[in-house]
């Protein structure tokens, strides 16, 4: 279903099954691979062996007499897709004024006073743009403060590189 919705071709579909197991009485589980196919006594025994091995590896002991519990069964669907193709942006020069959208008074520890800082929209910054601090760069999910003396440069992948004095 998900494969169809996501447009994953039949030969790029992978399904992994696992079960979270613990000793009865514990509060945390360890994930153990679950083979495909119907549950048989042999398969249950194999799960016990896998769990004991995982427990030994992580905690250094096996509690032979303690009953085990199967807590959560998981199925994981993976679509094998092409790696993202990261493209470099053309250098637009150092002038960042096209991304400026106002000013704000900000209290800066470096000066101990309120300083009028220019505001920049991250989405409108272009590769090669340079901003000297103090300044603020805003984006949907983060705010970057460029302190006085620091310089921000936008790299070809649109990362913001801050160099401190």
């Amino acid at each position: 279903m998900w494969f169809a919705d996501a447009g994953i071709a039949a030969n790029a579909q992978r399904i992994g099954l696992s079960v979270d197991m613990r000793y009865a009485g514990q509060n945390y589980e360890l994930s153990v691979p679950l083979p495909l196919g119907p549950a048989t006594p042999t398969m249950i025994d194999e799960l016990g062996v896998s769990f004991a091995a995982a427990h030994q590896r992580l905690y250094g002991f096996v509690a032979e007499d303690e009953p085990m519990q199967l807590v959560t069964f998981r199925a994981e669907a993976t679509g094998m897709v092409r790696k993202a193709d990261l493209r470099q942006s053309a250098d637009a020069g150092p002038d960042a004024r096209a991304a400026a959208f106002g000013r704000r008074d900000v209290w800066l520890r470096e000066t101990g006073t309120f300083v009028s800082c220019p505001l920049y929209d991250r989405a409108r910054l272009r590769a090669g743009n340079r901003i000297n601090g103090p300044a603020i760069v805003e984006q949907m999910d983060a705010t970057t403060l460029i302190v006085p003396g620091a310089t921000a440069t936008v790299d070809p992948y649109l990362n913001l590189l801050l160099e401190l004095p």
Binding site: Q26, N27, Y28, L58, G60
Partner: protein, 548 residues
């Protein structure tokens, strides 16, 4: 920038290795919790982990339970005193719990220590302690009644379990299956500590890692000295009382703190030790003081032994706050809470804006033990219940939390009722228990239990007779109370029996307020009133009448 002396580690390497040490002890703690079986560890996280250097001073302690530092301070020197280093092998693990043999501040805290070998020599120790919720329904006239005393001895010898030792310990436990599992979880934690420390030495070189350990302790000392030096010199005194259901009365306790330059001396006075489980040994007093002073002076100081160097702690030997053999110590946490509050009360005269009002000042404890009708096995359940935390200069105190020396989670009601023949009838903040002030003190909790099968119950705590004090004009918080249901036979010294269907109600203390109540923001008063956190009378005590 001036060049670093040749023998010094550069600060970046020191920071990286220091953070790695913190990460190792935190990971050890997670392994302990994840591998454990008992509710006290797997849910309530009543355990701590640490790394020590070969002198037995703390390299790093995980930020779990400050009280447990007292379990760690004495353990390595005591092991080294009893066992020659030349005879130690990789995979040796020492176990201990005795308050008078360097291994803990009360017997349920069982310590496991394992030497970390690199290139054939011991470079450090992995240590952890877990509170084994067992040993319930015992006497507390002296330590021999409280539990099996274990000096630091080998539980594992070169990786091989010493079955005889384990058998002896388990036979003295009421719930041996749980004890065995928790001991294995403690083994898992140290094993991880050993592996990670060995990897750290392999990556950076043993000498560098050890040099950083020394440097971090020096750094903690420098920060502590700088913080103390910033406080005004002088002598500050604070007196309070300490009450406990086991005693049924209040005792006078006091502290005198002298700040001189970059050093601080604390002297505690308390009555002679008593035939009850409320006595503290010296390492318990030390951990209480280190916690309180660090919290006030600079909470960012690294949790290692260096911070203790500028601090001197004294108390007359044989008193409640510096008890000697054979004093019983099981319920020492509430007493330690009072020691921490005393120190903070005195330091509030030197740095009022950094101190908080008195918190719930106790470790309200309900310790149940009985025979489970479902399988005939003994069961033991230990519960410690939060209360108010003291109001801060600019913020209200927190409601229903553990404060100061103790820091365990609550056991969710659903998990409790699945595991034990108990039903929780009420669990709620205690109305009106937060002391009024510009900042309000935190609220205590009310928890009501019904026994579904007969069981023995022991109740412990403090601030039943006196209220947690406010600071800078703040009012005191509410007291705690233990109330037995109608048909319950009266308890003796805080202990007694519940039959099936009988109930007990525990109310934990709130906490003191900070600053005059008249200065409280009227909006906050209205919100507290609307939420039922305060009564109308408390609201009226503020100058700002709530709008109707």
């Amino acid at each position: 920038m001036s060049p670093l002396p040749a023998n010094r580690i550069d600060p970046i390497t020191a920071e990286v290795i220091g953070s790695a040490l913190s990460s190792i002890v935190e990971e050890m703690g997670e392994a302990l919790v994840r591998a454990s079986f008992s509710t006290n560890i797997k849910e309530r996280r009543d355990c701590s982990t640490a790394l020590f250097d070969t002198r037995g001073t703390t390299l790093c302690q995980a930020e779990h339970i400050p009280m447990h530092l007292g379990s760690f301070i004495g353990i390595i020197p005591e092991i080294l005193k009893r066992h020659p280093v030349e005879a130690m092998r990789p995979g040796d693990v020492f176990i201990g719990n005795d308050a008078y043999a360097g291994a803990g501040t009360h017997l349920p805290d069982i310590v496991l220590g394992e030497p970390i070998f690199v290139d054939g020599r011991i470079v450090a120790w992995a240590v952890n302690t877990a509170h084994h919720a067992d040993f319930a329904d015992r006497g507390h006239a002296h330590i021999y009644q409280e539990e099996l005393r274990i000096p630091p001895i080998r539980l594992y010898r070169a990786g091989e379990l010493q079955g005889d030792v384990q058998e002896l310990i388990l036979l003295n436990c009421q719930v041996p299956r749980e004890r065995l599992s928790d001991l294995r979880a403690q083994m898992a934690a140290n094993r991880l500590g050993v592996q990670r420390m060995q990897a750290l030495c392999a990556k950076y070189g043993t000498e560098t890692v050890l040099a950083v350990g020394d440097e971090l302790q020096d750094y903690a000392e420098r920060k502590m000295r700088a913080g103390i030096a910033a406080l005004p010199d002088g002598t500050y005194r604070f007196a309070d009382t300490y009450d406990n259901p086991e005693l049924g009365r209040a005792l006078d306790v006091s502290v005198e703190i002298t700040i001189a330059g970059s050093e601080m001396r604390l002297h505690f006075d308390s009555p002679p030790q008593v035939r009850a489980g409320i006595n503290m040994i010296y390492t318990a007093l030390l951990s209480s003081v280190y916690y309180a002073v660090k919290a006030v002076v600079d909470p960012t100081i690294l949790p290692n032994s260096g911070l203790a160097r500028p601090i001197t702690v004294t108390a007359p030997l044989g008193t409640i706050m510096n008890a000697t053999h054979p004093a019983a110590v099981n319920g020492r946490t509430s007493t330690c809470q009072r020691a921490a509050d005393l120190a903070i009360g005195a330091l509030a005269q030197a740095a009022p804006e950094r101190c908080i009002a008195a918190g719930n000042g106790s470790c309200a404890t309900a310790s149940f033990a009985g025979v489970d009708p479902r399988d005939g096995h003994l069961w033991v359940y230990l519960e410690t219940i939060g209360g108010g935390s003291g109001a801060r200069a600019c913020k209200d105190g927190l409601n229903g939390v553990h404060v100061h020396m103790t820091n365990t989670s609550n056991l969710p009601v659903e998990a409790l009722e699945v595991e034990y023949p108990l039903t929780v009838l009420r669990y709620e903040p205690a109305d009106g228990s937060g002391g009024a002030g510009r900042s309000r003190g935190g609220m205590g909790l009310r928890r009501v239990y019904r026994a579904e099968a007969e069981c023995q119950l022991r109740l412990d705590g403090s601030r039943l007779l006196t209220a947690p004090w406010g600071l800078a004009g703040g009012h005191p918080g509410g007291r705690g109370a233990f109330r037995l249901g109608d048909d319950v036979e009266p308890f003796v010294n805080g202990a007694g029996r519940l039959r099936a269907g009988e109930t007990v109600e525990i109310v934990t203390p709130g906490a003191g307020g900070y600053g005059p109540p008249a200065e409280r923001d009227p909006v906050a008063v209205e919100r507290d009133l609307a939420d039922g956190r305060i009564y109308l009378a408390t609201a009226a005590a503020t100058s700002c009448e709530p709008r109707r």
